[in-house]
Symmetry: C2
Subunit: 428 residues, 2 copies
């Protein structure tokens, strides 16, 4: 890789939610993996560097998936007639148990990593399983593939099936060992503390994990307020806590290190305030919330509370790994909230949803998800010419059209942190 | 084509909404384009006929799209930030005006027909434009492709842009000429009377079209109750009619010949009763209703009123031509109606939605959309083996998984009325 190189094409991205930034036939100059310049012409000091000319293709930031369960990859599109808790019992837990077998893990995780590559998800925040070894294997495969991710060894020590439950001390011990070993993968693939959700973690486990997060300075991910049955269960398990959100706060799983909580559909105003105070990010997972009949998260209201929103595929509560489709689904669901529930919740615009799927989620990784100076160069090259259209369209219209009707066949280039990933990661 | 042949594979279909009928390694015997037998083994009288063995692949009925606008094909995924009326003005009407040019029509309609083929839509009910010649061209292309459709020359003589409006007498005259010429395409491609919707048709035009439908014994399609602004507009145009539905009834556009009305989101109970009495079918278009912020049609309530429900892509209010995706979106939207609006509206099951996308819509064509004896053999062969999954799954699980995460790449065979369509219809 040249330490400086230049990419040319129709550049479109969102530095802020309100609008797209568009540079037709523009240039991005990358130095040591980061953007040195993005604009209409090559500044004279860079004139001697090589240019990769993508012609009339679109160049957009890589997608960021802030919530997905890698071990549920095979279950996509299955059991869509169930709500969260029976779905976990019937489909999810039996599948996750298989990841005690490293061979099975290698087969599935290789396919999963390939699929992230195919669909242009350059960054992701992933749940593994309770199994330390297979979680390390997932990290290794991601690292080999050149993709960036936060990956969590899951913790669960109560209300879980016999075949998928941990002893509290062992869970904390395994997590510490895993955190040590996980340092080997470097800046692109990093560990994240991952209590599954309150019902499957004792207070002692949650507190221990909160301590480990601070001790190792690693972020935290979990689930929050997805389903009414789940919320009632949390209240019955923690009757002295004022809310589901408070249970996490009380165990120092929110408010210390960067934290992302999936779903957040049914939060009270007080809980939204806590989310804002603790700078907790929401991973909004529209397909999952539809499939598991969980409801429509009030994204406009969360935004109005100053909460950062990113998007998640939530494989396999969500069935579609494509963040292009996840972001159009987020727009659609917000329209249904407006039309059917409360017309004071303005729908999300396309640029808002695109921002969430790029820079919004990218913030969790640092300067990621935009083409501003200093940002890591994560990018996709989109060749939309096979999407039949004899009409002239603007760059923004072409992007909209591809997001709605395009797919992986049109992604012809993928960059992560300045590195071109030009082949599928593994032969399947 | 042999007058009798046999197809073998994993057969799955819905003869009724409540459940899938599944025949692993089963046989369908086709005689003169219709199903003579469907079951586990070949009856002795058919033993000598050729067998097309599709191995472990799935065999499902072809999809029926009961509402799509062929001339809006290029606009898929564009203007998704607008509601119905401004979207019509900005994107739809200017595009439809181009179909006065037969060369443009040929280019776009050829691509559209190819896409129907690709995605396994063996039957469709289509809007053309006001242009008689290009509508005949669309019928010719469909006929050449071997696909089956009802196609309508659109009528509109008020509240339309100057460049896309008809004189009333000319509109009726053109429709009569078109109905005569449209007889040439035979049983698979037939005309359907197509007033655009009440706001763009005068009373005299609507009455004239109602008369033509009866005179030529052809069915009728239009739009009904999609958007609050549209409904208010109809009320102001027809203050003496008790409802939008009544306007159609008063002009004999419902209740005489078979009729399909798209959307039907905001009907009153009285209107639902009229729909039931007049045996009017609803073309439910979930993606379109989301994209244009129209709302969630109360499908369970319509079903409880005894109304027949079919599904429509509504290209290009809807962006996705795949009826597999339209049917999973219908399931998802019904879950949101249940979760966010009224828990007395039970969600649609997958078999209910599959029924709507096959036999439900197929009823409009006769005995179509199922593998029962006497039905026309419309079928798709689905090779889902590239959808990575090391686990054993039932036929029903494999179908669910393909509907949610599969695409056109997995459709490896297409039959319409017993004829194998093994090549894309036109070179593009």
């Amino acid at each position: 890789m040249n330490s400086v190189y230049i990419v040319k094409g129709n550049i479109i991205y969102t530095s802020r939610p309100a609008e797209f930034s568009v540079i037709p036939n523009g240039y991005v100059i990358i130095r040591d993996g980061r953007i040195a310049y993005c604009g209409e012409s090559i500044p004279s000091e860079f004139e001697s560097y090589p240019v990769e000319d993508y012609g009339d293709n679109l160049i957009i930031p890589g997608f960021v998936d802030t919530h997905a369960h890698a071990p549920q990859f095979c279950n996509r599109g299955l059991g869509m007639d169930k709500e969260l808790l029976p779905w976990l019992e019937t489909y999810t837990f039996p599948e996750e148990a298989k990841f005690s077998d490293l061979d099975y893990a290698k087969t599935v995780y290789s396919a999963f990593v390939n699929e992230l590559w195919r669909y242009g998800t350059t960054r992701s925040i992933l749940f593994g399983t309770i199994h330390k070894e297979s979680t390390l294997l997932l990290m290794k495969l991601l690292s080999k593939a050149g993709l960036s991710a936060f990956v969590g060894k899951v913790n669960m020590d109560r209300n879980s099936p016999d075949y998928l439950i941990e002893d509290t001390d062992q869970s904390l011990h395994d997590t510490r060992v895993w955190l040590e070993e996980a340092q080997q993968f470097g800046p692109l693939v990093r560990p994240i503390i991952t209590p599954r959700f309150v019902p499957s973690c004792t207070s002692r486990l949650m507190s221990g994990l909160g301590d480990l997060a601070v001790e190792y300075n690693v972020p935290i991910q979990s689930h929050l307020s997805e389903n009414h049955g789940e919320i009632d269960w949390v209240h019955s398990l923690h009757p002295d806590s004022s809310s589901y959100t408070d249970v996490y706060c009380e165990h120092r799983l929110m408010g210390t290190v960067p934290t992302v909580m999936a779903h957040c559909i049914h939060l009270s105003d007080e809980e939204m305030e806590r989310m804002h105070e603790t700078k907790t990010m929401v991973a909004h997972c529209p397909y999952s919330n539809v499939n598991l009949s969980s409801g429509i998260a009030p994204i406009r209201k969360l935004l109005n509370h100053g909460i950062s929103i990113a998007l998640g595929s939530d494989i396999s509560g969500g069935h579609d790994i494509s963040m292009a489709k996840v972001l159009t689904e987020a727009v659609g669901l917000s329209k249904m909230k407006w039309a059917e529930v409360d017309a004071s919740y303005a729908s999300l615009t396309l640029s808002e949803a695109f921002y969430m799927a790029t820079k919004g989620g990218g913030q969790f990784f640092g300067d990621v998800g935009s083409f501003e100076t200093g940002y890591e160069f994560d990018a996709l090259v989109i060749d939309d010419h096979e999407l039949f259209d004899p009409n002239e369209r603007s760059i923004e219209e072409r992007l909209e059209r591809w997001l709605y009707i395009g797919d992986d066949r049109h992604i012809v280039g993928r960059y992560v942190a300045g590195k071109l990933l030009d082949e599928p990661p593994m032969a399947m």
